[in-house]
């Protein structure tokens, strides 16, 4: 088998994994058993498909194979009759033309159940993230551990503990009722965005493995958008992640950070920006504005500006005003101050920055933003002090060398 064939099969596994696991969990009523059985099926598929090619409906193939493996595994347990009966009952009630395969709406519901269970608020945030990537994203424990810079054993333990809690504490495998839905959807989106940011903040060459988390988050976001097409914020988050990710090749140069202002806009992925902008339009038409859509709208204004100087700063400032009203936070206030500086001049920007001076005293990007504005106003001494403060506050090697370069420009 060629490398490309092998990669094609890998891609199929990754995109089908979450769907197959979601159905199996409902049918067998057990996370571990479902995952082990799907793993068995994947191994079987690998040898089978290499010989005879990928079947037309790989998801159905994997579901059937995984169910057989689950039955095999169940038979090896004591007291398996009850569980087997339950499984057979579930399969029978999955009405379908083909071999008792669940119909599309059923698969759709299974996936939603899995998402909401993995992102249940009774689980710690880090457990939610790990479980989502493992069961829904089909990542291995080793891959997740590398992405989050922890050891494989720590990550394995975290996942085992989360699954045990789902089982022992009786976390239900279902889509939450309407009354709880808005909060629970927010929680799901927060998990996806956290995964994305974990990859996004690790933007340098030697952190390539971590950058894959961005693609994973985008893939999960798209799946959630497809499952909940009326959730404007789900679409907004998808658009936001895609817009940011489309700038990936311009964000770093030989390992150091390149600010938006200095990025080579020819390196941006135009096709992705266009797709994401259309997605954002669709979200906005649903008329349920929210923070992800606003942030996506800001990102879209940057992405669609021909140059930094011709960016629509008035509009961006207005969007930051809305964001700040909706979700006030010091970091949003910082970004708003930068937009004010661009729209109304550096002096006004500095005044806006003052508002968060105490709250962000320990935040390096507050001091570097201030330094940049002081630099524009040719207040070099103050700029030097601010850059030095920023440098002393950052632990990240890349950010540090970037700030040192900026400081070197003055002296």
């Amino acid at each position: 088998m060629t490398q490309t064939e092998h990669e094609a099969i890998e891609r199929v596994f990754r995109s089908e994994y979450g769907r197959v696991v979601a159905t199996l969990i409902r049918q067998v009523g057990d996370f571990d058993l479902a995952e082990d059985a799907v793993q068995d099926a994947v191994i079987a598929a690998l040898s089978k498909w290499q010989a005879s090619g990928v079947p037309k409906n790989p998801g159905a193939w994997l579901t059937t194979a995984a169910r057989r493996k689950a039955i095999d595994r169940l038979r090896r347990q004591t007291n398996y009759q009850e569980k087997l009966a339950r499984l057979e009952h579930r399969v029978r009630t999955d009405q379908s033309a083909e071999h008792g395969e669940p119909v599309d709406t059923q698969v759709h519901d299974d996936q939603l159940r899995l998402i909401f269970t993995c992102c249940h608020p009774a689980l710690a945030m880090e457990a939610q993230v790990a479980l989502t990537l493992k069961t829904l994203g089909g990542l291995s424990t080793a891959e997740i551990a590398r992405g989050f810079l922890t050891s494989e054993s720590t990550m394995a333990q975290r996942i085992v503990r989360a699954k045990r809690k789902i089982k022992q504490a009786g976390i239900p495998y279902r889509v939450p009722p309407d009354a709880q839905l808005p909060d629970r959807v927010d929680a799901v989106l927060a998990v996806i965005y956290l995964i994305f940011n974990e990859g996004y903040s690790a933007s340098t060459g030697d952190n390539l493995v971590r950058r894959e988390l961005c693609s994973d988050a985008i893939r999960l976001g798209a799946a959630i958008g497809a499952l909940m097409p009326d959730e404007a914020e789900a679409l907004g988050l998808s658009a936001l992640m895609q817009l940011n990710h489309a700038r990936r090749d311009a964000r770093t140069d030989r390992g150091s950070v390149v600010l938006l202002e200095h990025q080579d806009r020819d390196l941006w992925h135009r096709d992705e920006i266009e797709t994401a902008s259309l997605l954002l339009d669709r979200a906005i038409r649903l008329e349920h504005p929210g923070p992800y859509q606003i942030q996506a709208a800001i990102a879209a204004l940057h992405s669609n500006a021909a140059a930094f100087t011709v960016t629509d700063w008035e509009q961006i400032r207005a969007l930051y005003d809305r964001l700040h009203n909706l979700r006030p936070s010091p970091v949003v206030a910082l970004n708003r101050a930068v937009a004010i500086a661009m729209a109304d001049g550096s002096e006004k920007g500095l005044v806006a920055l003052e508002e968060v001076a105490t709250e962000l005293a320990g935040y390096p990007w507050y001091h570097s933003s201030r330094a940049e504005l002081l630099l524009r106003l040719e207040r070099y001494d103050e700029a030097t002090v601010a850059f030095r403060l920023a440098i002393s506050l950052t632990n990240n090697r890349d950010s540090r060398s970037f700030l040192e370069e900026r400081l070197a420009l003055i002296s």
Binding site: N79, H120, A122, A169, G170, I171, P172, P176, Q180
Partner: protein, 120 residues
């Protein structure tokens, strides 16, 4: 599934007689409500932490101490045992419990011996 709802509160907070009466009424209503729904398996309010005695047996010797006077501010003040479908239902009941409005309520599933043995 069976869950214990463990009610924790800060004993140093002094309530006025009116507040006390209101709290008693809230608990009375809550208990009636879960009785009517048939999910109440029982529960008790505990006397003040100053009345507690801790027992340890070490080397066949029974050691009794006054307390516990742990460093934590919130102490166990009472509990309910309920039987509901799942954790979401248990959390919903905990949110109706007056104890969660001021202090906190810990929701703990009751260990299921039968199922645990089956899983072995």
């Amino acid at each position: 599934m069976k869950y214990a709802l463990l009610i924790y509160s800060d004993p140093t907070v002094e309530a006025s007689p009116e507040d006390m009466a209101k709290t008693m009424e809230d608990y009375y209503n809550f208990t009636n409500n879960i009785n009517e729904r048939g999910i109440n398996l029982g529960g008790e309010a505990l006397d003040a932490i100053e009345t507690a005695t801790t027992v340890r047996v070490r080397n066949d010797e029974t050691l009794t101490t006054d307390g516990p006077f742990a460093e934590t501010k919130e102490v166990l003040g009472g509990f309910y045992l309920i039987d509901v479908a799942d954790l979401d239902a248990a959390v919903a009941v905990a949110a109706e419990l007056p104890g969660s409005w001021h202090g906190s309520v810990e929701v703990r599933p009751v260990w299921d011996f039968e199922n645990a043995q089956q899983a072995e």
